[in-house]
Amino acid sequence: MIHYIWMFLLLSGVVAAAAKGRIDLVTSATLTGAKDAITVCFGLISIIVFWLGMMQIAQDAGLVRKLAKLLGPIARFLFPSVPADHPAMGYILSNMSANLFGLGSAATPMGLKAMEELQKLNPDKQTATPAMCTLLAINTSGLTLIPTTVIGLRLKYDSLNPTEIIGPTMIATFIATSMAVLIDRYYQRKYSRKG
């Protein structure tokens, strides 16, 4: 999929430039695009270095684990098919709380561990279980406290108020995540009636 999109962007640009008789635009866009990518990356380093440092403190202090504990009742409601004392539940909780702190690099391994444990509960190893679908629904809607990359990019473009979008983002994500859970439940029922 990504291959086609990338090709589409490049090809339609070249075609448009050729049609205009300004093929030189392609060359200059290529060079500026590459140069800007590097400056954007360096612009992002500052906030990401800082935030990862902060999150290490949160992890070492046991805050991520603490949050996981607080999320327990929600997770038991979201994953009724997983026994509360099953290791899968622990990984699901760590995954949720790491996501919330914006610890992508810690959330993914926890999520994969959770998938492995859920796979052990799965009678048909090639077909997803409803619990797996719920875990993915939560992970794809991306609930997070501090969206560091976007704040970093805003900072790079001299925003007067780079964190202004935290509130609206939380509301939008909260709506998306709760709707994802509802839609997931809807399909779950539909599917279990069929099967």
Binding site: M1, I5, W6, L9, S12, G13, A16, A17, L25, V26, A29, T30, T32, G33, A34, D36, A37, C41, V49, F50, G53, M54, Q56, I57, D60, A61, L63, S105, L112, M115, K125, Q126, P130, M132, C133, L136, A137, T140, S141, G142, P147, T149, V150, L153, Y157, S159, T163, E164, I165, I166, G167, P168, T169, A172, T173, A176, M179, I183, D184, Y187
Partner: protein, 177 residues
Amino acid sequence: MFEFITLISKWMLPALIVFIPLYALFKKVPIYESFVEGAKEGFPTVISIIPHLVAMMVAVAVFRDTGAMQFYLHLLSPISNWFHIPSEVIPIGLLRPISGIGALAFVESIYREFGPDSFLGKLASTIQASSDTTLYVLTVYFGAVGIKRSLYALKVGLWADFIGFVASLAVCSLMFL
């Protein structure tokens, strides 16, 4: 209500950077060492996205600077006008579930043209930040345990992305217009 949301935006970061170290100190964590230990990973993390960002930002720059983007946005304008969506953010919404960095390249493009503090800039920021790359998550998670039939997971993920887009549009319109 909106004052409350603004308050969250203003206080979230300051509150966390006081609360986290304070709590850690209370738990007898050597906070300075912890910070440095975690921050070390920041540099390689960012450097590892350079190839992706170069690939995407070159493609988006070619698409944008040659006038191809304008052409397609114009094609889409009947739809975007009908739903009152600014056509500039449509590429972000379309790309977000497929490639997070591709969408980010379009966000950057909007900052460049309209500024990060314009309505479009804030809207683009919110759309980008309020979702995750659905296709990538699905591939990695199901791939890791060898699931072949993913049931309705993709449908749910894409619905969530669509709802996130609409919700971002609604919240930003109410707050920033």
